[in-house]
Point group: C2
Chain length 462, copies 2
């Protein structure tokens, strides 16, 4: 009996997709440079159906790749040719809300209201965003997960309270990119909405000054609700697209949002302005009203599609560095842009040191995609050299396997594989993603770079 | 060659202790009901010495128990009769401080300035405290760990930035009670000191009202920097000891601290007062000045020793429950106190739902210690039944192994053991702690209690 037939014994007919035309819909996530249709797609509606699917796949030794909304940027939901693509979008119920405990329990297919992605995807990638500088990553806002192992065993990880005994498998599962288990429910913390928020825009003549401004704000003990940077190319593209009111003569701008009690905001904004002026800000503007505040953010949020208007394709990178190296690493990226002959725009979560260089290229021009990928890989290696990491929030997926060899020692990678075997000894969950084999690292020829040494000479002065 | 001789080849003579009189100093941590001298104590000064000790113990298959300041309350640092006690107190250097990145890197033996414990111990237990409602547990304030495995391999976990790729072994190591590896350096986040803080004291005629007051404050979207509860016995003992100015006619008091910008505090305190009055607070007092604020806290902090003055011994429990069940669970603990014939005082982190019932007993009265332990075990089971956990911040150690059988299913315990094997296949690190064997659970006869069902009938109405 073939796989689809077996699956149809467990699920309603329409929940099993095996015809090639329908399968092609699932052949990639948002890293569309990689495409591979799965053998079969399943669309369970309940945790028990998920369990039954996993047990079957475990028995038949069939690979399983989980997928939420398919918005992932590192190819984590790229299907396996011989495997099941397990779509969790129909597990989309809000199971309970408890205001006194300030928690909600939801299924993984529930959509994150701000964006298109699902909560399950947020858990799988430990997603961040504009506000995680103050409010933390996904992990910092989770209390509990229900997980099915590849053997179909149900694990309750974490608890409804602040702490849980035993090893922190909740954290281990979060950000594990579908390699350790399948999440079937998520208990999140609910945060009170801030009473008010205000945003300040600062313009700089030098990118480096803006980078140093970010470090100075944090060093001053200010915790912004968001601290974003855009460079000239991004400013121009955004301004041209949505008319946010950005200064067009700046090399970089910062958007610094403060939220909380109105009196606190009123007290903090002048401090931010003062710190940024001391770092060379040529203009500091507080949004005059809510509508201007929204407009400032619209420009930031529209920056990616805006850049899509000026280049046929872009490749969005994701790396993180200690804030004090922002200026130096941006200068290094500028130099690499010259070297690779591809323009790059920077729009990113500067407060976290989470870079998002967008490499502009033309996929129809022979060799440009490969050049963009090589450039991107180099940027990630620079992040590691600066004492940072190869991902801030997008995960490793298939995209950054080579850079994992740069980030980690052989001993560290071996420890990851040992943990994987503790959950999935046959390697059936999302095989080939997130953690490279030592053989692959040997083939890639990567040597682990000892972090924080800044071996590129132009950075020595920082 | 015997163990001490081998160790003396690796370490200076005075760093290896093997004479019985000196060993007895190390025979227990702060859970002094359990005592066991180790075979030998080692006092390394460097990570390389730690590595050499671990390699030797791994080669000889000798158990290793790590110890910080020995202030742990669950017996996590209880020595092994045939093993090495690895004291980390001489690894006490502050390695670096980076204000721009707001981080510091320290060795595990550095003392937490507030209290006697070490940072390494905080990591091993994922410690909490009064302020973790707003500022998180230890894990929420960590960026990176350097860890030596039992094989003497060095792992760099986490990163100097917000996120790191790969499985979250940083979180897995945190709170793992010395079972997975030995921490040799810790990178912590540095938080800006709040500009101001103020405390409000609220008195209640009924413990239940105070419990409901806690839930109501949180449900109102207020995030206090501390929200502590004390019941009548604790109030009386503290007042008699340090004259904190507590009302002696109350059944319970809450201390609610708000910190941040002075204007924010001024705006929040009346909201807290209003919410608590609506829940039946008979008196609400804001500290008139800094000296009264300090006095209110002195009473709270002196409550444990104050209770030590009215009973020969006390047994401090540690469990966590969803806040909405505070009133009901405290009533249940009161009923159990009658049943076991032992007085109990409650002084605890109410905002987190983290209970600290102190069972008062006399170790010299035959049977009282055993009765206190049975009572304590029962309290933890009530926490699990209420949808909570058997530890908030003190860990499992040897104390709560039986209750782990209540908290977790066999599948979950098996998963913990699988993770342990991924780090320490021979089970040499802190054997017999934190995670019970399935055999032990079978002997204990515990059945996993499905959390959140509140099977005790007097709670059904909540």
């Amino acid at each position: 009996m073939d796989l689809s037939t077996e699956l149809r014994r467990l699920l309603p007919r329409e929940a099993v997709i095996a015809d090639p035309a329908s399968l092609s819909v699932y052949e990639c996530d948002a890293l569309s440079a990689y495409r591979q249709p799965p053998k079969v797609v399943v669309l369970p509606r309940t945790a028990e159906e998920v369990r039954a699917i996993l047990r079957l796949c475990h028995r038949l030794r069939v690979p399983v790749v989980a997928r939420g909304a398919g918005t992932g940027l590192s190819g984590g939901a790229l299907p396996h040719a011989e495997g099941v693509l397990l779509s969790l979008t129909r597990l989309n119920r809000i199971l309970s809300i408890d205001p006194a405990n300030r928690t909600a329990t939801v299924e993984p297919g529930v959509r994150n209201i701000q964006i298109a992605c699902t909560i399950g995807g947020n858990v799988a990638e430990n997603s961040g965003g504009v506000h995680c500088l103050k409010y933390g990553l996904t992990l910092n806002n989770l209390l509990a997960l229900t997980v099915m192992t590849i053997e179909g065993e149900r694990l309750e990880l974490g608890s409804q309270t602040l702490d849980a005994p035993g090893y922190d498998l909740l954290a281990l599962m979060t950000g594990s990119e579908g390699l350790l288990g399948i999440v079937t429910s998520v208990t999140v913390e609910l945060l009170p909405r801030p009473q008010a928020a205000q945003v300040l825009l600062a313009a700089f003549k030098r990118v480096e000054d803006a980078g140093n401004g970010v470090a100075a704000v944090i060093a001053a003990g200010i915790i912004p609700a968001g601290l974003e940077m855009m460079d000239r190319l991004a400013i121009e593209a955004a301004e041209d697209f949505v008319h946010a009111g950005y200064p067009l003569d700046a090399e970089a701008i910062l958007l610094c949002e403060i939220d909380g009690h109105p009196a606190e905001i009123e007290a903090e904004l002048p401090r931010v302005a003062e710190v940024l002026k001391a770092q060379g800000a040529t203009e500091v503007r507080v949004a005059r009203d809510e509508s201007e505040r929204q407009r400032f953010w619209t420009g930031r949020k529209a920056a990616f599609p805006a850049l899509g208007r000026i280049a046929p394709d872009y490749y969005c990178m994701d790396g993180t560095i200690p804030r004090r190296h922002l200026g130096a690493v941006l200068a290094r990226i500028g130099a690499l842009s010259q070297e690779f002959g591809l323009a790059v725009a920077n729009v990113f979560h500067a407060g976290d040191g989470n870079l998002h260089p967008l490499i502009l290229y033309d996929a129809n021009a022979p060799g440009q995609l490969e050049r963009a990928e090589a450039f991107g890989g180099k940027i990630l290696e620079v992040c590691v050299e600066a004492g940072g990491t190869i991902t801030g929030e997008h995960g490793v997926g298939v995209e950054k396997l080579n850079q994992m060899c740069v980030q980690f020692t052989a001993e560290e990678l071996e420890q990851f594989h040992a943990v994987k075997r503790a959950f999935d000894p046959d390697g059936l969950l999302n095989p080939g993603k997130a953690i490279p084999t030592l053989r692959r690292c040997a083939e890639f020829g990567a040597l682990h770079v000892h972090a924080g040494k800044l071996p590129f000479p132009e950075l020595e002065r920082f």
